[in-house]
């Protein structure tokens, strides 16, 4: 199998952009990734495009050049971008192509996501009676976790405050204003114990990466970043996941745990080796739980870690250095590639004001979403 390198990353800022289409944002993200790689679109041999709202992300070719390449579209919930990345990498790993692009783009309506619950194999009446809410699932999950592992409301607020602070340092973020822990705690309760400022919001944006066979990467860049592994997993029997009307009593680990273990094993890297971390912070509780599910701490240890500032940019476990979903919002198709964009900048030492000190060499990204899907990617210098 071929090794895979990332030779270019590009992003269209996340936020709200009026009439601008997701396709336009996707094309801009690709142009920016190509410029970063010093490549032209006509050199790209294939692409995968991810989106929730756009049926045909491949329509970006109309804005980039109609070169006739194979362009495959994917949607896989909150793990859409991880899926586009994994499939692009696989096509290179298996020797089918040398150079490809993974792109994600979205443009969501305001407010919480909604859809037909039947598409999530939930009962048809699940939404009618008010159960079809991802936010309610996250409230229930972190509430039990806090009860079992002694996590305080203050720690929930610390996570959100950190991510807003990091967002201030990120010119591409949606929310670029620091919000105090006090204001976070006193904002409207949405789903106990989670308040308004502890949640991310759906928004708009795009991100792209250019991947190539590792052995040719230095033709294009002097600082390739290697995609050591990308892993996807779905839920197993016993896990309580988003949009489940029931759960088995028999316990099972969350899909993230399985994806994470498989990723560490495939990369030959352990959590102690990771220098920069990106996890799915749909809400601040999710960041806390995902820290443990990805092996970065024991259950309950987050209380102390957050109080010590360990997850800050200058801490020993920097988490969501670009502000995560809380500061960037979640254009579903693009979110995971935003994580990769940030890790690549950090590993190249190009993250500017939010640069993690000490020449970070290993980056880790995790996505999680309905109906119980997780994606993990590990990148290294």
């Amino acid at each position: 199998m071929e090794d895979v390198a990332i030779i270019g990353v590009g992003i269209h800022p996340f936020g709200r952009f009026g009439d601008k289409s997701a396709i336009q944002m996707g094309a801009e993200a690709i142009r920016s990734a190509l410029a970063d790689a010093g490549l032209e679109w006509k050199q790209v041999q294939f692409a995968f495009g991810g989106s929730c709202e756009v049926d045909n992300p491949d329509a970006v070719v109309g804005l980039l050049g109609l070169t006739g390449i194979p362009f495959m579209d994917v949607y896989n919930g909150c793990a859409t971008a991880a899926t586009a990345l994994d499939l692009t990498a696989d096509a290179i790993r298996f020797g089918k192509y040398d150079i490809g692009v993974a792109v994600g783009m979205d443009k969501h309506a305001f407010g919480a996501f909604t859809a037909d619950p039947v598409h999530y194999s939930a009962p048809p009446w699940y939404g009618d009676i008010g159960h079809f809410l991802t936010t309610k699932f996250f409230g229930m999950k972190i509430n039990r976790y806090m009860h079992d592992h002694g996590i305080s409301h203050q720690t929930l607020a610390r996570v959100a405050a950190k991510n807003y602070r990091n967002g201030v340092l990120n010119p591409n973020a949606f929310r670029r204003k620091a919000i105090s822990e006090e204001e976070i705690l006193s904002s409207a309760m949405l789903n106990y114990p989670l308040t308004k400022y502890m949640f991310c919001s759906p928004d708009e944006g795009a991100a792209a990466v250019v991947l190539c066979r590792a052995d040719i990467a230095r033709r294009y860049t002097s600082n390739p970043i290697y995609l050591r592994t990308s892993v996807l997993r779905t839920r197993t029997y016993g896990a309580h996941e988003v949009h489940s009307s029931w759960a088995a009593v028999e316990p099972a680990e969350a899909p993230t745990v399985y994806a994470s273990r498989a990723a560490y094993e495939a990369a030959g890297i352990g959590p102690g080796d990771v220098d920069v971390i990106q996890v799915q912070d749909t809400d601040s509780g999710a960041e806390i739980i995902h820290m443990a599910e990805n092996g970065f701490c024991a259950d309950g240890e987050q209380e102390k870690l957050l109080a010590e500032g360990a997850t800050e940019i200058g801490g020993r476990l920097p988490v969501n250095t670009d502000g995560g979903l809380i500061a960037n919002g979640e254009p579903v198709g693009a979110s995971g590639l935003r994580q990769i964009h940030e890790l690549v900048l950090q590993l190249r030492g190009q993250a500017g004001e939010r640069q993690v000190p000490g020449n970070p060499r290993v980056g880790y990204a995790q996505l999680y979403g309905a109906p119980g899907t997780a994606g993990v990617s590990i990148v290294t210098t």
Binding site: G111, A112, T114, D116, P117, P123, P124, W125, G127, D128, I129, G130, H131, F132, L133, K136, G139, M140, K141, N143, R144, H147, A188, M189, L190, N191, Y192, P193, L194, Y237, H240, S244, S245, W246, A247, A248, V249, E250
Partner: protein, 143 residues
């Protein structure tokens, strides 16, 4: 006044002691709610109807403090919306079921509290028909 369940085959109705209608796999004993034709654990098509216990304990919970978007069909508006509690309630040894709680104040809710199934009017239609749904209410301790 006519009372109709919001969907068929979710709970026994009318009934003096209503129960949720689930299913159990004849092969591996996995239990689901609502009933489904295939087993989520072993994949076999041997599911049999199972009436779930009426009483259970609260495994975890949250509150719903904002009006859900469509397809929410309570007829409420942002002005009339009443926040509600949501729980994952363990019924018997094999299954936990999501359901609304009749209490919504976090001070009235605690992990492990005993709950019982109630059927309540979820919405009243223009012709006066009451559309009934299920919820869990605090049960008297010691029952």
């Amino acid at each position: 006044m006519a009372q109709v369940p919001f969907a068929p085959d979710v709970f026994t109705w009318p009934a003096e002691k209503p129960q949720l209608i689930g299913a159990r796999c004849a092969s591996c004993a996995a239990v689901t709610f609502p009933a489904q034709d295939s087993c989520p654990r072993c994949g076999k098509l041997e599911m049999e109807q199972l009436l779930l216990p009426r009483e259970g304990t609260l495994w975890t919970w949250t509150t719903q403090d904002f009006l859900p978007k469509e397809p929410y069909a309570s007829g409420e508006t942002p002005q009339t919306f009443k926040p509600f509690g949501m729980g994952l309630v363990q019924l018997g040894d094999d299954v936990r079921v999501e359901g609304r709680l009749t209490v919504s104040d976090p001070k009235q809710i605690r992990f492990g509290m005993k709950l019982e199934l109630v059927i309540y009017p979820f919405r009243t239609d223009g012709d006066g028909t009451q559309v009934m749904s299920y919820a869990f209410a605090p049960a008297e301790e010691g029952n």
